[in-house]
């Protein structure tokens, strides 16, 4: 129905005018039917979440209208096509009928131009310089030939005209394009993961399509060849992760993107990677579950599986980016941890940040050292989002008494890159000795198990050196811990709470396994009450917090397939604050 591309184009334009943009996209699993919508928020400072209520609604069809009208903020504006939408009466709402189809037919000779007409309408509404949008259209459709651009530009101006004619009052001024060099990208979380992988030096991706992770793979099939990398579509997820393990054994950084059902199929091979002590990165863009579940909806319900999803005991790290921009940095970090500790790393994002388009500050790449595979492990420093970690592949001259699975102080062993003379070894999923020979004797198994897990404890020690930031006033008695895509909503909720005079602190670990234990203890120490916010039914993250830190948090679970809103979190904060009050603690 074009509504999504209209929203995307407008959001991108706004980004070009140096405004922060934040979108949330939902679309049906069925190609046809269902309904899809896009919300856009624009601000001139950083945006954290969608918020709940909608200021402007442009609806092309009845279903979209019926499903979204309830979300309209009091006094909000609705622009609709009278041909296709019957409006209900909503007090204080401003309704503007605009015959989008008709205008599109006239200007662009077909309904397909409708979304560009709407774009023009938005341009008028937000007083945006038409040049910005014209430029955008020619960038987007230039490849399709001049006439395509032309008819789109026609439709655009028809939209501006329609806005003027229908006398819709101008709203906020988004102004004109800054001539300064762009400082923002406009991308989805999935695209940020893809770009992050390439920035991290990954040149190998093997994957299999699955909603909502497919765009990561699609983006990489496009970009990889441009940087001399390899993108391979496999016949299923088992083959995909197998190919990644093969590539990693060969010395390449490898990635495979998937979602819950695919991650389950990858389980056996993920465990193999732990046993072979090979770095690989798997991205799970979580969707509503279980099973096929709600492929196009969002949920944070794969956490325990990502951490415990292996038969036998196999160390792995799990990272959870907290937003679109963070997807870029946590992906780099995932590769760093994988290389540094020779273990698989799972990145947990979800549909909401995977499909959300937002402005991302262009990264300072000079801060990112380029890859070098020949420095031994001593020289490897702790992962840090702004550096690319160095793989500790060893060189021939270091091969005296080479033991591939040497039981070292940090558990990390030297590893040779195939092709290195004298560096041959057997990497086996069977339990093995330090030199790689199959061995089931009791003491060897005990020793190698400790060796493999030592890497995990080294990692968690390392994490204490750059702990996650704590936000909010020192003296707050209420604190919230969340993980992944809920960061924005939680942060915004703390602001709303502050406005009500309730002080709330916020901790949002990005590495969810192993946990930054010290920092969490420190965070909990000062609090009267902690809340754990997550988007699942059973309270998976809360289980860890309870089990590990012996606290009784107030658990806030949302399990409806849509992101939690700041207002929903605020409600809980207010309740908790009232209880604390009743225990007569003076509110700050």
């Amino acid at each position: 129905e074009g509504v999504i591309s209209c929203g995307e184009l407008f959001a991108q334009a706004a980004a070009r005018t140096e405004f922060h943009v934040f979108t949330y996209i939902t679309y049906p699993a069925e190609i046809r039917g269902g309904f899809s919508m896009i919300q856009i928020r624009i601000r001139d400072w950083t945006i954290y979440s969608m918020g709940s209520a909608v200021d402007y609604l442009i609806v092309f069809n009845q279903e979209a209208y019926d499903r979204t009208i309830a979300d309209l903020r009091r006094g909000g504006m609705v622009i609709y096509d009278p041909e296709t939408v019957k409006i209900s009466d909503v007090p204080e709402a401003h309704f503007h009928p605009v015959p989008l189809n008709k205008i599109s037919n006239e200007a662009a000779g077909g309904k397909r131009g409708k979304n560009v007409v709407a774009l023009g309408l938005l341009g008028h509404l937000f007083d945006m310089d038409p040049k910005v949008l014209e430029k955008l259209l020619s960038d987007r459709y230039g490849s399709k030939g001049g006439d395509v651009v032309e008819s789109n530009v026609k439709a655009l101006h028809a939209g501006y005209a329609a806005g003027r004619d229908s006398k819709i009052a101008r709203q906020v001024h988004l102004g004109t394009a800054s001539n300064a060099k762009a400082t923002y990208m406009m991308m989805s979380g999935n695209e940020a993961v893809a770009l992050g992988a390439i920035a991290a030096g990954c040149r190998f991706v093997a994957g299999y399509p699955i909603t909502p992770a497919t765009p990561i793979f699609e983006t990489l099939t496009r970009l990889m060849p441009m940087v001399g990398g390899r993108a391979i579509q496999m016949e299923d997820e088992i083959a995909s992760i197998s190919a990644c393990i093969g590539a990693s054994f060969g010395g390449e950084k490898a990635l495979s993107p998937t979602s819950g059902p695919g991650l389950q199929l990858m389980g056996e091979q993920l465990t193999l990677a732990s046993m072979l002590e090979l770095p690989i990165v798997i991205v799970d863009v979580q969707r509503g579950g279980p099973s096929t579940g709600l492929p196009t909806k969002t949920e944070q319900s794969d956490l325990k599986f990502a951490i415990y999803g292996s038969a036998g005991e196999a160390p792995r790290a799990v990272l959870a980016p907290s937003g679109v921009e963070d997807c870029f940095y946590q992906t780099i970090r995932a590769f760093n941890i994988a290389e540094r500790y020779q273990m698989p790393v799972v990145i947990l994002t979800d549909q909401s940040i995977g499909y959300r388009k937002a402005t991302v500050r262009i990264p300072n790449l000079t801060g990112i050292a380029t890859l070098d595979s020949s420095v031994p492990s001593e020289n490897v420093v702790i992962p840090n989002p702004n550096r690319i970690e160095i793989a500790n592949r060893i060189e021939p001259e270091e091969l005296r008494e080479y033991k591939r699975f040497k039981d070292t102080d940090d558990g990390v062993s030297p590893v040779t890159r195939p092709g290195t003379p004298g560096g041959q070894y057997v990497g086996a999923g069977l339990e093995h000795t330090e030199s790689g020979r199959a061995d089931y004797s009791p003491l060897n198994h005990a020793k190698m198990t400790r060796k493999r897990f030592r890497k995990l404890s080294e990692l968690s020690k390392a994490l204490e050196n750059n702990p996650p930031e704590i936000y909010g006033p020192e003296d707050a008695m209420i604190g919230i811990i969340g993980w992944g895509s809920t960061e924005g909503a939680i942060r915004e909720a703390t602001y709303l709470a502050a406005a009500k005079g309730i002080a709330v602190r916020h901790l949002h670990p990005k590495v969810v396994s192993p946990l930054p234990v010290g920092q969490i203890k420190h965070f909990l120490a000062e609090l009267k009450q902690v809340l754990v916010v997550e988007e699942n039914y059973t309270g998976q993250f809360a289980h860890f917090i309870k089990g590990r830190f012996g606290v009784k948090p107030v658990e806030i679970h949302k399990y409806e397939g849509v992101p939690i809103t700041p207002e929903e979190i605020l409600t809980a904060i207010v309740k908790v604050a009232r209880v604390i009050d009743e225990d007569n603690i003076t509110r700050l």
């Binding site: 923002y184 060969g250 790449l365 999923g429």
Partner: protein, 283 residues
Amino acid sequence: MKTTLRDYRSIIEPVWCPGCGDFGVLSALEKALGELDIPPENIIAVSGIGCSGRLSHYLNTYSLHGTHGRAVPLALGAKAARPDLTVLAMGGDGDGLGIGGGHIAHAARKNVDITYLLLDNRIYGLTKGQASPTTPIGRTTKTSPWGVYEDTLAAIPIFLAYDVSFVARGASVNVKELTGIIREAITHRGMSIVYVLSPCRTFPVLDFKAAKSMFTPLPPDHDRTDKMKAMALAYANDPMYTGVFYEVDKPTLNDRLDSEVHKAEAGLGGRQATIEQLINHFV
């Protein structure tokens, strides 16, 4: 310097039963590698799980002993990442035709340049004698106490239907012939399968004495490019033919991946994109 046979044998003592057919495959493989004089460090050997899966331990190569049924996709990834190395995959009839059977068709579509040694003893050896996809119908095994009731899988016709670009059959009892076949398979550009009948001593579904007499080399005039003829010969059981049934020349996976890179670079003025250039895609 020229490699010697010893260069390909690791220090690990095989744990196979005395007289296991797989010994024959191991020595044929070592001979073939020696004749081709490929430095052991330039070989990646990936194996599945099974007695046959132990092969990779006995080679002095970069050996990956993976999980059950995944030797082919593991090897595919290794070769795609390291075009400069010789990549071998190996495993048993259960590993390759049972649990792993789904991967071969797709590796063939990509024509990845690996050599896959599929060791068929018509039984699950390592797990001590259960029916495999090639155990003859009616045969009693530990999981078919009333006799196997499934039809036997016809491996070679299936590989031909997959259009694997090099398809051969060998026998571990004929080490000399097998050596030659393996050498040819490794030399072939693209995916090659050497389907080796390798009898199990402990669960002798495939009888050794019988094995000695059951094979005949393919007619010398057999046209390797004639798939239909190859198909017909592959179905023949008495005699059972050994040799190269089919060979066709197609671009390898790495050829295909390279041409993608060239297309991409062509659009970039013959150069690779810098990360800055990629960033501009999103501005």
